[in-house]
Symmetry: none
Subunit: 214 residues, 4 copies
């Protein structure tokens, strides 16, 4: 997914040296696991499925990761960074409404291009975030507070309409992720002749423009 190279959970230590084949297999496993976990959830996924999808034998897969859970955790750790990146880019010095709209667009784009990651995340949330709670109350909370303060300031300064900054963020998350997480429903209703994401882009642009207009 990204070439930043995953840490081993310690977050600190020296980068683990990996041979080319290790790198390749680890990536294949994570890619396969993303596919399987996002579709079936943690418990619903089997190591066999993942191994097969990665083109490895089950014991060989467990040569690269110590356990099924370790793969899941690795995915979630990497995911959170990816997930928060668009929000991180919200620039306190930029034009308020443009910044918020741009953020929404980046987030919608992520739903479009990374729907499996979105579903993996949603799965974890639905189950009460058993493996992610710490991350939520750490990085995520800090970032949300930071950006909410920025938005609140914009709101106070009259640069955008008055609006609860936290719930504005929630709204962006909810509205964009919905198109990934509830894709079946959206497609069932719209039928095959619609392009949900392009319509969503238009609709959400309107929505946030009206919501934030002074």
């Amino acid at each position: 997914m990204d070439q930043t190279g995953e840490e081993d959970g310690t977050g600190a230590g020296s980068a683990p040296r990996r041979t080319r084949i290790q790198q390749k297999n680890r990536e294949a496993i994570l890619e396969a696991a993303l596919e399987v976990f996002s579709q079936h959830g943690f418990r619903g996924a089997t190591v066999d499925q993942i191994a097969q999808a990665a083109g490895l034998s089950k014991p060989n897969l467990l040569y690269y990761f110590p356990s099924k859970e370790a793969i899941h955790i690795e995915l979630l750790s990497t995911l959170l960074d990816t997930w928060l990146a668009p929000l991180r880019r919200l620039d306190p010095e930029g034009d308020p409404k443009a910044e918020i709209l741009a953020y929404m667009h980046r987030k919608l784009e992520m739903s479009r291009t990374l729907p499996r990651e979105s579903r993996l995340f949603a799965n974890e949330m639905l189950q009460g975030a058993p493996r992610m709670k710490d991350m939520l109350e750490g990085d995520l909370k800090a970032l949300a507070q930071d950006k909410a303060a920025v938005i609140a300031r914009w709101s106070d300064e009259g640069k955008i309409a008055a609006v609860d900054p936290y719930h504005l963020i929630f709204a962006i998350w909810a509205l964009t992720q919905h198109y990934a997480d509830f894709e079946v429903q959206v497609r069932a209703i719209l039928g095959p002749d619609h392009d949900p994401f392009s319509e969503a882009d238009t609709f959400l642009t309107t929505l946030f423009n009206r919501l934030l207009a002074r």
Copy 2:
């Protein structure tokens, strides 16, 4: 095997005769299953958990329902009706903006009072609706089309601002269900001193007012 003749979604079959104890146990099972399925997903839930939560032995539970899957399907069937009820009540003859806002409020209220149902539904969607696709493309689609037409008319007649009626419905779904489905995340960010649903009520009222204002 399934001599209880449970209504299977067709809505036709003869009314199943049930003693009071049967009724009570079926309800206990469905209540328990809702709890367990919504928390752990279908594969993550075990019949044992459900039986224990229902206060029954495992074989006795399977006397009432032929299989784990049958319980799940029964829950989903019932759920869809509950889920669509608020939308059904959207009155074509009512005041457009008031109707839409009232619908949103009913939906948010459902997220507040029935979060387990919301998560059960979300779980099913995330997995591609393997057990619900027909219902989506049947009742749900029909209802959505029907109500979208109403909203489109309102929009055309200038009674509300121009808006894509389908995506308006999606927005209501996404924004209200988010507070049930991503509750951990919302609470992790807001902390213990907030009342997410009451704040959401205010925020969403504002949001839809601005979106729909002529």
Copy 3:
């Protein structure tokens, strides 16, 4: 092995009610496990072996005991009581030498009739008593101290020859258990025409008579 009915490890609580079939199967499992564990050790034994020896399927065995380890622990708990019984009967008011010789005989008889128990115990000791250390430092130590004091008194009062009471007890254990634990070796050396236990009886009687004679 004995009809006292095993506790479930809590040591306290009410006696677990068991149906006849439960009683029968539990006993079959423990008997089979004794056979297998004493021969192959804990790690060397497989649940499959035990199940087969007990005439049960693997999952059915695990219906009666939660894990392989639980069976092992149950065996060891029961065993310690059996194991200490002969020493418990050492009567402080009896004739000193006769009491000690009688104890030795009871212990030797146990090696003869319960060699598997002896080997199970020896196996556990060899590995450092990972599952029995507490029992050793509890019941066993207390009993040994108690009886060592009795023997020390006899020794002090000149009723038996001066002797270290603890090491006298160890000597009885070592000498009697040897015929069970090292049975292959004893038989390899003596050949098929000897009766090790009857010879041991004579030899050990002589040994302790000479050791303890005033």
Copy 4:
């Protein structure tokens, strides 16, 4: 595969040529294997544990020995020689009681200095000597018969008290090995302030003196 031509107990084969590093690694492996096998038994030990303890990779370890079992067998073969050495030194021409006591002391000293070897041997005996039976019925039996005959002669000649020579040997084995094999138990009972082996020395000296006194 096994081109190193390890002496396989027959004692005949050509002397294996080994480089210094080979020699060093073989020794490291055997040392590590002794540690691990004596603690966990054959089945309980893993090749990984041994390799790690020896500071080698698993495949490299298997370059030196064709299999886990081969290491075990090698250990046992070497062990038997070590084990019997003290008895071999029993001098038919020496002073009978002094010889027997000296043998007992050598054996006790071995328990003190080589407890792992003692436990390895005990483990093998407990399991019925599956890998050692031939050795028992060969070298061991011959030596035991030889020395038993010596003791029997001494006994017949009145140089020591009348005693069954085989069971006298067993007694020495049992009493000395007990302090290595059942060390946990001994220490659990005596507590930390005792020196089991030094006390055993005193006790066993007394015991055999009284047993053998004319």
